[in-house]
Amino acid sequence: MRKITGKDIRAAFRTSSPIIVTFLVLGIGYGILMEKHGYGPMWSLLSGIIILSGTAQFVSVTMLSSGSVLMAGLTALMISARHIFFSISMIGRYSSEGRRKGYLYYALCDETYAMLSKDDGPEGVNVSNYRLLVTLFDQSAWLTGSFLGGWIGTLLTFDSTGIDFAMTALFTTVFIQQWIDNKCHLPAVLGVTATLACRVIFGRDIFLIPAMIIIIAVLTAARGKIEPAGGESHD
């Protein structure tokens, strides 16, 4: 583990900056929502440390005051099932992370994954430090945003309807970049069409599970077709 240099910090901050902005804005939205439901900034902070998943936390707001605990847990499992893929696909990259592994996996949210799964950072930057800092910046921004939101919620009144769209917009920019970077568009098309079909067939609550099963099945069957354009090589 090398000492963290200014260069590592600058590179990680450059990568994280769009996520920091998004997380601050989204976190403020979440904090305000929590505050309106009677849970102040300390609750948002606590929830952010323990759950650390924007989607699960937004859903949790309506479940905190009443309702089945089991249902809340199952909902969180369903929403976060995608993280199984994220963690598995990072095993190769994180294999030499040593004691940092625990934190890197615990804090591996969608956006951090999107940034750290595409490359190992700019030339000359210590990869391990880069990963740690990107993950830390992203989480800190989310926690800071949620805390600020809880605080702002008591002072300001503005209509935050539609603020969740920042998440959709971010995923869309990553999707476009991946589309530009890859010759084989089959995985991208598969992700959209399989999920869309399952949303129509299975309804809004469980569609992610069948969608993932179909995606894995098709990826398995079409491996020979996809693999040559599957991306960068691993050691």
Binding site: I88, D159, A169, T172, A188
Partner: protein
Amino acid sequence: MTDHMHAMIVIAVMGLAVLATRIVPVLIFGRGEKVPEFILYLGRVVPYTAMGLLIVYCLRDMPVLDAPHGLPEIISLTVVTVTYLWKRNTILSVVAGTALYMFLVQSIF
């Protein structure tokens, strides 16, 4: 105080569920032994399916059959796409798209 207890339990249970999805796969496949070639293949290719899945997930409550038929989403995502192809700036596209979307759902539709 009792409902605060409930909130605490809900946060703890949801936290455990999320943590499990992030850690358990690593405990199964990350013990130092070689990860099967097939898992590595999935690791390479799943990221390219996951973004599409997440976008559809984000839009899961978009009304297609009822008004406004997803028009705010379509307009805003078009702006996100065009600005991103034009400037390749994530902040610009996310902020512009979100601001437009918030304006559309609050004032127009």
